[in-house]
Amino acid sequence: MTGRGLVVVLPYMWLLLFFVVPFVIVLKISFSDIDLAIPPYKPLLEWVGKNSLAIKLNFNNYVFLFTDGLYVKAFLNSIKVAFISTVLCLLVGYPMAYGIARAKPKWRNILLLLVILPFWTSLLLRVYAWIGLLKGNGLINIALLSLKIIHEPLTMLYTPFAMYVGIVYSYLPFFILPLYANLEKMDWQLLEAAQDLGCRPWQAFYKITLPLSRNGILAGSMLVFIPAVGEFVIPALLGGPNALMIGRVLWDEFFSNRAWPVASAVAILLLILLVPFMMWYQSVQARESAGER
């Protein structure tokens, strides 16, 4: 079936070269030494004598990462932040997705549009907006002060709180959309049947809607959690110097310290951490589409 092969060969080759091969290179460099050169790392393979090739696998970078408390903290903190953000997205996003799915068709499209619209405008700009809202003399503080709810401005910017707000704000549409797609396909008559059989509304939700929307919740959670672990922009703009996120660490190692091998090691570890979640996401997606057929 050469016709078939021809169709997919172009995207396949492209992704192989520009997506997969780079990871191999990152792996390779994570084993090399830093060098004051361009590029700033020592080559891995060295010709020793005439006919032999020596591979120098330097585990120093990995040892460094595991023993230096900073990096371990950064990894753990990133997971914590991503997890809490995912839960927050669930709490805020589920009612929204549910509300849209149950709205009349005319309203549904408008509501979806309203949820998607911010997504089309630049993330960077929207996160930036929160700077103006959260800072010491920002809008929120001004409003709270003038309403006499507080007497001194709250420190919100450059705190973990700001980071959570930023992450939930940016990733909320990513949670709502797959959940909505899942809820939209639900047979609402199931709830009516449950109520007819004696279930109260909240019970019906808990026993029927929630389990059936499991795949949607999982898909949305993965779409938030996995990228959030490696998130860089939001911690950089809102989190302040104490926001220890692994994405920032990678960036700083690379751009500020020019320590490419260390940055590569960080990337590899981050990848290893996230691959199980990515595979889980794939299997949830496969289950969902198999259920449809």
Binding site: R4, V7, P95, W120, Y169, A267, L274
Partner: protein, 276 residues
């Protein structure tokens, strides 16, 4: 649904939407603020358009916008081609060698943190340059390649899911009437899934236009994109010109989306009108 729960849902929806839009609206409002202290409203001199003039004369921002535009257009067009091929292959061919790999490669970029993708792309370009001399330094080409790699994944998902609901009987009927498979694709399949492809193009364009992390890793001297310029400015705090930029962006996007929705609604109405 009884009243209590529907009020609860409506309230959540209302707060959620307010949460999404208050930051955006605040930027729009303060783009007209005369004071440089962005959150203090200078009622004496506001509203004013002075920041708008400042932005439109800002060479750095205009150059960056032009570069972003070029990259975004090339990226969107290339991604659509690659993504449609991949989406079609995954949707139509249930078995082929490398299917699992292709599927994994087109879904991983959707969730992968951008710092990883960006770093790996840069290291690839450096290694390639050492090996074969291309690409010579980083710039628009490398950025575009980087963007296409992750945009293509989104297009693949869109095309794949559109084709999943596509009635294959249409393609079979066309073949039955004498059209060869390639012709069927261009004359039947493509026109029908065109809206999905268009939305893929728009999505790829937006992703590229807004991208910061991958652009930072894969760009070179003199090829700063708009997000890169914005980022360097906002690291230092708020800036009124950025408010203006945000307002312009939001206005353009809103007009576009509203326009497209109205157009689609009008087309649907026209169709219904001709049924007797």
């Amino acid at each position: 649904m009884n009243y209590k729960s529907s009020y609860f849902i409506l309230t959540c929806l209302g707060f959620g939407l307010a949460f999404l839009y208050i930051p955006i609206l605040s930027m729009v409002v303060f783009s007209f603020n005369a004071s440089k202290l962005v959150t203090v409203w200078d009622s004496a001199h506001s509203p004013t358009l002075k920041w708008y003039y400042a932005l439109l004369n800002n060479e750095e921002i205009l150059d960056a916008a032009w570069i972003s535009l070029k990259v975004a257009v090339i990226n969107a067009s290339g991604s659509v081609i690659l993504g449609t091929l991949a989406g079609f292959g995954l949707a139509r061919f249930s078995q082929f060698r490398g299917r699992f790999t292709l599927n994994a490669m087109t879904t991983a970029p959707l969730v992968m943190p951008e710092v990883i993708t960006g770093l790996s792309l840069l290291l690839l370009f450096v290694a390639l340059e050492q090996l074969i001399g291309w690409p010579a330094g980083r710039g628009i080409t490398t950025m575009t390649i980087g963007h296409m790699t992750f945009s293509m994944a989104y297009v693949t998902v869109i095309v794949n899911s559109r084709l999943a609901t596509f009635d294959t009987a249409l393609e079979e009927a066309a073949m039955d009437l004498g059209a060869r498979p390639l012709k069927v694709f261009f004359v039947i399949t493509l026109p029908i899934i065109f809206p999905a492809i268009l939305s893929g193009w728009l999505l790829a364009f937006t992703l590229s236009w807004d991208d910061l992390v991958i652009s930072s890793f894969t760009s070179g001297p003199g090829s700063s994109t708009l997000p890169m310029v914005v980022f360097s400015k906002v690291r230092l705090g708020v800036s009124p010109e950025i408010n203006v930029l945000a307002t312009i962006t939001i206005t353009v996007v809103t007009l576009m989306i509203v326009g497209v929705s109205l157009w689609m609604a009008r087309m649907a109405k026209l169709d219904k009108a001709t049924v007797s």
